[in-house]
């Protein structure tokens, strides 16, 4: 795995080729071609899983243990597979029209800061009616259940099924967090969106309290794959799975206060989900600009960081007048970036935390001159973040 913000590692040069070619928005890949790559990837994943199941020394249970699991459920054609493709496989939203309906449970493992799994359920199967499903294995280690409801469709049946599912699960697994994505809300007016959300919320809560569950852990999100709302919703879901999130947030809040940042996000670079932010109210606009900035850095790095310079060139650079190894000439070995906007001279800064995470912050007006100081502070916080993840890592 190579760093997406710094370019290829020298040792593992030819890693994630397929992924990076999918990730560039302007790449000259036709829809058909992209589809092919994706199908190929999917098949490869499936095959790997089958092989994994066959190989005696590697029991599938062992590899899935301890990883938080996100279950995507909902009516058929409500957009579950589209969501997981857009968020975790960087499929352009317009391409999701061509996705086939999911026939069996699709398990994806996300190599990320906390290695979570995404299970995409086919909508037509009712797992509680079907005795072949091992309910305990499925929900035993679950992180969150995401229920997708198509807001542009008649949602009565979806709500009814969700209620049944919640009631079934609440008895045996009361700790499950249930997240309802009211999906496909692009194109709906703001008033109508809120009406739908209110309607669905009331229907579910009434039903649950009728059965004696007050304050069930159900959260609602309005989402669409055509804007950043789906990433925002996933961010909120993932944040609930992070142990001691409060400490992370406190660190970022502290950083914001010390360096006068307007807003700081800790991003998962691959999925553009933010796993923590400071205590200032999060708004969509600042999230969008930070997430787009990561894209710019990834794309630029792909152009200039993806190839090996010749050894002679390197020797020259390390020779006089510098007389230092390149590693010693740089201030930090992690990617560090900054852009000053014309509007109010506001800088946006980015700092790579580790292979998966990056810290992106919007700074205060005219604070570019303080950049060296800011960088030092950020360095300290990044070290703190690394320690945090080291400590909270599941053993």
């Amino acid at each position: 795995m190579s760093s997406r913000l710094r370019g290829r590692d020298i040792l593992h040069g030819q890693d994630d080729d397929a992924q990076s070619s999918q990730a560039q928005p302007g790449a000259a890949l036709s829809p058909a071609q992209q589809n092919l790559t994706r199908v190929f990837e999917q098949n490869r994943h499936k095959q790997q899983k089958q092989n994994g199941a066959k190989a005696p020394e590697q029991a599938p249970e062992a590899s899935t243990k301890g990883k938080p699991r996100l279950l995507l459920m909902g009516q058929r054609r409500s957009g579950k597979s589209s969501i997981s493709s857009v968020v975790f496989h960087k499929l352009p939203p317009s391409e999701t029209l061509f996705l086939e309906s999911t026939a069996r449970i699709q398990k994806d493992s996300m190599p990320s800061f906390m290695d979570f799994q995404v299970w995409d359920f086919p909508g037509q199967i009712d797992i509680f009616e079907n005795p072949t499903f091992d309910i305990d294995a499925m929900f035993g280690e679950i992180g969150a259940l995401i229920w997708v409801i198509d807001a542009q469709d008649d949602y009565m049946e979806a709500v009814a099924r969700l209620n049944v599912t919640i009631l079934n699960l609440q008895r045996s697994y009361p700790n499950i967090k249930i997240e309802v994505f009211i999906h496909k809300v692009d194109g709906l007016s703001d008033d109508y969106k809120l009406d739908i959300q209110r309607d669905i919320t009331i229907r579910i809560q009434d039903e649950l309290s009728d059965h004696g569950f007050e304050n069930a852990p159900v959260t609602f999100h309005l989402t669409s794959i055509y804007n950043h709302s789906i990433f925002e919703a996933f961010s909120k879901v993932i944040q609930k799975l992070i142990p001691r999130l409060g400490i992370l947030e406190a660190m970022l809040t502290n950083l914001c206060r010390t360096c006068r940042f307007e807003k700081a996000y800790l991003f998962d670079v691959l999925s553009k989900i933010y796993i923590a932010t400071d205590s200032a109210p999060a708004d969509m606009a600042s999230y969008e600009i930070c997430s787009d900035y990561i894209d710019v850095i990834i794309d630029v790095t792909e152009v200039y960081g993806g190839w090996q310079r010749s050894p002679r060139y390197r020797e020259n650079l390390e020779g006089p007048p510098w007389n230092q190894k390149l590693e010693d000439q740089v201030a930090t070995n992690w990617a560090e970036s900054c852009m000053v906007l014309s509007d109010g001279n506001k800088p946006i800064m980015l700092r790579e935390v580790d292979k998966y995470l990056a810290l992106v912050a919007i700074m205060k007006e005219d604070s570019y001159d303080k950049m060296p100081l800011v960088n030092m502070n950020v360095e300290v916080v990044v070290q703190g973040l690394k320690d945090f993840f080291e400590i909270t890592k599941s053993k």
Binding site: S30, V303, W307, Y313, M339, V340, L341
Partner: protein, 353 residues
């Protein structure tokens, strides 16, 4: 009637301008069949539209005249000619002299998905014949457009085939007309959905910029002095690459289309910024961007002269980075001529480092 009015007014402004300014302001004609994507590409390149937004554009009626300011002293006199047949006939008959005289560049756009290729070619040939009559020295660019609709592996073949057909029609016409001079076509495969559009337009613009050799040699000496791997000089609003310089080592970069890609990336991000700040799309959006990718490379892009941005790709190293940034600020003086009109006085001066 509208034709008459617009043509007279155009004539007037043309006359007035030619008195005030130098006579070098030649026309850039954008032609092609209706619906082939002329106005879409113009909006993307010069008005900061994104590809999605071009759906909102309606058909161009008659000629859409725009003066695009480019690099301060260069004004492109861009004529976006509506492509419906009635208009085409009008250009070729009543407005023939008016449209085709004093043309610097003709950009002819072919729609790759066109159903009636023969007819397209017939129109094309009549346009070419008018061109040879009134502006025989004009450069001719042929853009084979909407290439994204062709599947990736067939693209090259389809493009080569279509270009061959265009060339064949052109040479047939030349022979039939007994025309002596060579007609040189420059073909490009383009699509508004990827960076190919930037490649075509960057090369068109490249040919229109005066004193390009001076810019290039100055960029070269700057690049050597600051030990850069690559320098790209962008125009401010369109973010097209006006000029570039690449070091010997930098030429090893396997990404051949990097200039267009960077144009595309930065332009897209400009739009994100304009959404974030609420400033107009055409306004200046950022003054500086820097990225240090550990011990692999570092780069910065900064406002350079009033009308340009400079992007510098450097080998890693903090000291190298900072001195390069300072040196680029000093070098700004030697590139001032890009902004103002008038003859070039400053030669590549030695830059103190």
């Amino acid at each position: 009637m509208a034709d008459m009015e617009s043509s007279t007014s155009m004539g007037m402004t043309g006359d007035v301008r030619s008195e005030v300014k130098k006579p070098k302001k030649k026309k850039v004609l954008l032609m092609g069949k209706s619906g082939s994507g002329k106005s879409s590409m113009r909006s993307i390149i010069f008005s900061n539209y994104i590809a999605r937004d071009t759906r909102r554009l309606g058909a161009t009626i008659d000629i859409d005249l725009s003066h695009v300011k480019f690099l301060g002293n260069l004004t492109l006199n861009l004529w976006d000619c509506g492509g419906q047949e009635a208009f085409m006939e009008n250009y070729l008959s009543q407005q023939r002299v008016h449209v085709f005289s004093n043309v610097g560049v003709l950009i002819y756009v072919f729609d790759i998905e066109s159903r009636d290729v023969d007819r397209d070619m017939a129109t094309y040939v009549s346009i070419i014949s008018a061109m040879t009559q009134f502006s025989p020295t004009a450069k001719i660019y042929v853009l084979i457009h909407k290439m994204d609709l062709i599947s990736l592996h067939a693209r090259e073949a389809v493009f080569v085939d279509r270009v061959r057909l265009v060339r064949q029609k052109t040479s047939e016409f030349i022979q039939a007309a007994g025309y002596t001079a060579e007609l040189d076509l420059i073909p490009f495969a383009t699509s508004i959905w990827d960076q190919s559009l930037y490649k075509a337009w960057a090369s068109i613009i490249h040919d229109l910029v005066p004193n390009l050799s001076v810019i290039e040699s100055q960029l070269g000496s700057l690049g050597v002095l600051i030990e850069a791997e690559e320098l790209l000089l962008f125009e401010r609003t369109s973010f097209l690459v006006v000029s570039s310089w690449t070091s010997e080592e930098g030429q090893g970069n396997p990404t051949g289309d990097r200039q267009e890609r960077i144009s595309n990336i930065l332009k897209h991000f400009k739009q994100s910024i304009s959404r974030f700040t609420g400033t107009p799309r055409n306004a200046e959006q950022f003054t500086l961007m820097e990225h240090k990718a550990g011990s692999r490379f570092s780069m910065f892009a900064c406002k350079f002269t009033t009308n340009t941005y400079l992007m510098v790709v450097l080998p890693p190293g903090e000291a190298r980075f900072n001195s390069a940034k300072l040196n680029c600020q000093i070098a700004r003086e030697s590139f001032k001529f890009l902004d103002g009109p008038g003859p070039v006085s400053g030669q590549a001066q030695s830059l103190s480092s």
